[in-house]
């Protein structure tokens, strides 16, 4: 029955987890089948239909019915003066706890139970007695803690520690089960996905935690479980990023979150917001500059003039923090070039000139385009000498790097400016040299 059902909740989405629970239920069911029929007045006989009802509802993911059946089972147990003991009680207690958790998750506002006692408490009580299938059970329990923590805006250190531990303990248990499994096999790959899910959650928690640095250890321990899997590169990246900015885990987590959102084509504003947050919490100026460089790069690739302007702004911030960084110089200069070029094409010559001047205020690999922009903007305002000097400089720099079609615009710009200012003879000389050079 469970095997063919598509799970709807987060944790049971995984086939292994679902199968594991099915095994629990089947095993207990088998025990019941071989138990001699009890007289009707026997408490166990009275309890048995309730237990079966709880199991059946749980298998059908009817959380309301499962929860009610578990309530009835425990109430009947209490009425008979029977102890909260034995594997059957433990199973029903876990079912009750999990079912109530699903009810809470669906609508916390109308939840009629006490979360601590009836969700967490019930599952803990169960785990004291019945410790089979630890991967599944600790995953559910950890998820309950995690969701409650999230509901409280990640501001509860006790829930945070417990969420982390039970989610991690689930992974430890599964890693042990899979110790003989090939690391490139289906089971281990599924497990590695769970480890990545754990790290995603850890990142989310670390973002708001009062002690983000604890995740330097927690995340790295989890990464160790995933090494050797198909996602080895990703685990190595995550292992490294929590050490970003000298172990400033919150900055590292935000940095990675921003990169992930960017690479998955998230909403640009959301991506930039996460990057901004990362930059703000970063302590090292080089690390902060790197984030601004990335923001400049990202913005420059987005459509819209506003993003081009923001690329310049981010590039400027990066450059101020780390002016000797070659990548930052290129990013900042390129952003200015793009803006200058756009202004020029839109006829905003003053703005174009301003950006071009800024982009030639420092040396960078590729600054021939900046001198190109500067010269033609200056020419527009009749600034003859500067325009000629800068057009020649752009052409000279370009000649050292480019040939053919790539060199052509620089050559043409220089010639145009020469002619604009009545220097046709010089322009012809340059043209002759250009053609003579085989370009």
């Amino acid at each position: 029955m469970i095997r063919n059902r598509r799970p709807t909740h987060d944790l049971a989405r995984h086939r292994v987890a679902t199968l594991s629970l099915a095994l629990v239920l089947t095993a207990v069911g088998a025990t019941v089948a071989t138990t001699p029929v009890q007289a009707e007045e026997e408490p166990s006989a009275m309890l048995e239909p309730m237990r079966l009802q709880a199991v059946s509802a749980y298998n059908e993911r009817n959380w309301q019915a499962a929860s009610e059946a578990a309530d009835a089972f425990v109430a009947a147990l209490d009425a008979e003066g029977l102890p909260h003991a034995g594997p059957k009680f433990a199973l029903v207690s876990f079912i009750g706890g999990h079912a109530r958790f699903e009810l809470w998750k669906a609508d916390p506002g109308t939840f009629p139970y006490d979360f601590d006692r009836d969700v967490l408490g019930a599952m803990h009580e169960s785990l004291e007695i019945l410790q089979d299938d630890p991967f599944f059970k600790h995953n559910i329990l950890g998820t309950a803690y995690y969701e409650k923590l999230k509901h409280e805006h990640y501001r509860n250190p006790e829930l945070e520690n417990k969420a982390n531990w039970h989610l991690y303990k689930a992974l430890l248990a599964r890693a042990e089960e899979l110790v003989d499994a090939p690391r490139d096999g289906e089971d281990f790959t599924s497990f590695a996905k769970y480890v990545l899910l754990y790290i995603n959650r850890a990142f989310e928690i670390a973002r708001y935690s009062t002690v983000p640095k604890i995740y330097l250890v927690r995340v790295r321990e989890a990464c160790r479980l995933g090494f050797g899997s198909k996602y080895d590169d990703r685990f190595a990246q995550l292992y490294e990023v929590v050490g970003f900015d000298d172990g400033n885990v919150r900055a590292g987590v935000l940095w990675q979150t921003g990169l992930d959102k960017m690479n998955s084509e998230g909403e640009p504003e959301e991506v930039l917001e996460v990057f901004s947050e990362a930059a703000q919490v970063t302590r090292g100026y080089k690390e902060r500059a790197e984030i601004y460089r990335q923001m400049a790069d990202y913005s420059s690739r987005l459509d819209g003039h506003g993003y081009k302007l923001r690329a310049v702004e981010f590039g400027r911030m990066a450059f101020k923090l780390d002016p000797t960084n070659k990548d930052i110089q290129v990013q900042y200069g390129t952003s200015l070039h793009v803006v200058s070029y756009a202004h020029y094409n839109a006829g905003r010559f003053e703005e174009s000139l301003k950006s071009a001047k800024e982009s030639t205020s420092f040396e960078w690999d590729g600054d021939e385009v900046a001198y190109f922009d500067l010269s033609r903007s200056e020419a527009n305002f009749g600034n003859k000498i500067s325009a000629l000097v800068h057009a020649e400089k752009a052409y000279d720099k370009a000649r050292r790097k480019y040939t053919g079609g790539e060199l052509q615009p620089f050559f043409q710009n220089y010639v145009n400016i020469l002619r604009q200012f009545g220097l046709s003879a010089k322009a012809s000389q340059i043209e002759a040299e250009f053609q003579g050079s085989g370009q």
Binding site: R183, L216, V217, G228, G243
Partner: protein
């Protein structure tokens, strides 16, 4: 390894090492003997615990950080304890079991050290007691190498951790230094009703104001409240040296002050709404007594708290007097102390008297 050799060296854990280690284990896992595999799991859990040293090192370690790190460490140690208990049932290989025992003991020693660094002195002492239980002997004689501390190495991005290794003897010395900053203090509260007890609060009204003492008191204060809330009638709390006041908003609760000194072994502190009086029958003024209770000198012998009094006589007194008198509340007077009653105690040995007396009564000390 020789126990006399100094084992102070550094381990550098690189990311690459982590990758290699785990890949290696996995590749060969199919052929690994279950006992060997169990040894591997136990060793991994122990290794994970040592990773927390780097978080409790240096300045800027917050209470939340300590709580989070110690929470994890305690869970790892519980995990190891669970495995140890199960392994004892199923592993017949004595050498392997001994190795597991040693690893679990090392984990508890690490936990003792980490708790001490996190100023949870009580937790530290409890963990240390487990080390002794597991080993069956004092760990100072243990031939092992223990990670004593860890700091990030020179490589950027905390991609290496440098561990300082030490012998158990050195680690125990570290622990003793930490523990000396705490005084194990027992409280007895059974004479108060549950409602009154719930209102108890403990304040630190004197002593050093260094971060260690303040953090240790904050934790001790939490433990005090937890134990009161649990309904315990007698419990212990490890407090940093200093002066304390136990009081409550409830007017029926008598405020009590206590002074704890570094390295001291205080008598149990008795919280009791009732009092009694002492009267001295001795005509010998040379033997005028000085008494202290809870580290404070008694100035007035009326309205005294129940508890243990430490007694000193004036320098010229030749009579034998008790070193301590413990007074408990009871409806009857259990002993009347007279000089001749002390003769059975051998010369040079301390004399401890235990007496009971009803609330409001006057107890006559005939000595």
């Amino acid at each position: 390894m020789s126990r006399t050799k100094s084992r102070r060296f550094a381990i550098i854990a690189f990311l690459a090492l982590g990758l290699g280690l785990f890949s290696g284990v996995t590749v060969n896992a199919g052929n690994v003997d279950p006992v060997e595999r169990e040894l591997g799991f136990v060793a991994e859990l122990y290794r994970a615990i040592t990773g927390y040293h780097v978080l409790l090192q240096g300045d800027g370690v917050t209470r939340d950080m300590v709580a989070a790190a110690l929470y994890d460490v305690e869970r790892y140690v519980e995990e190891l304890d669970g495995r140890y208990a199960t392994n004892k049932l199923f592993i017949e290989d004595h050498a392997a079991m001994e190795e597991i025992t040693q690893t679990v003991a090392k984990a508890h020693l690490q936990a003792a050290l980490l708790h001490a660094k996190g100023v949870d002195l009580e937790g530290s002492i409890s963990q240390y007691e487990k080390v002794i239980d597991l080993l069956g002997y004092n760990p100072v004689d243990w031939e092992e190498s223990i990670a004593r501390s860890a700091v990030p190495g020179m490589l950027p991005g905390v991609s290496e951790i440098v561990f300082e290794m030490a012998s158990p003897r050195e680690v125990v010395e570290d622990l003793k230094r930490f523990w000396a900053a705490g005084v194990v203090t027992r409280f007895k509260v059974e004479e108060y009703g549950s409602a009154s007890r719930q209102a108890f609060k403990i304040e630190r009204i004197g002593g050093r104001k260094d971060p260690f003492s303040e953090a240790a008191f904050a934790l001790a204060s939490e433990r005090f409240s937890e134990r009161i809330a649990e309904g315990l009638e007698e419990f212990r709390v490890v407090l940093p040296p200093g002066r304390y006041r136990v009081s409550a908003a409830d007017p029926t609760v008598e405020t009590l002050e206590v002074a704890l000194s570094r390295g001291g072994v205080p008598d149990p502190i008795v919280l009791n709404p009732n009092t009694f009086n002492f009267e001295f029958a001795s005509p010998d003024e040379k033997c005028a007594l000085t008494m202290t209770i809870n580290g404070l000198t008694v100035k007035n012998f009326q309205g005294l708290s129940y508890g243990t009094y430490r007694v000193r006589s004036a320098p010229g007194c030749t009579r034998r007097i008790p070193d301590k008198i413990t007074v408990e509340q009871n409806s009857e007077v259990s002993l009347r102390t007279e000089p001749e009653r002390l003769d059975y105690v051998k010369e040079g040995q301390p004399i401890f008297l235990f007496i009971t007396t009803p609330p409001g009564s006057t107890y006559t000390l005939r000595m």
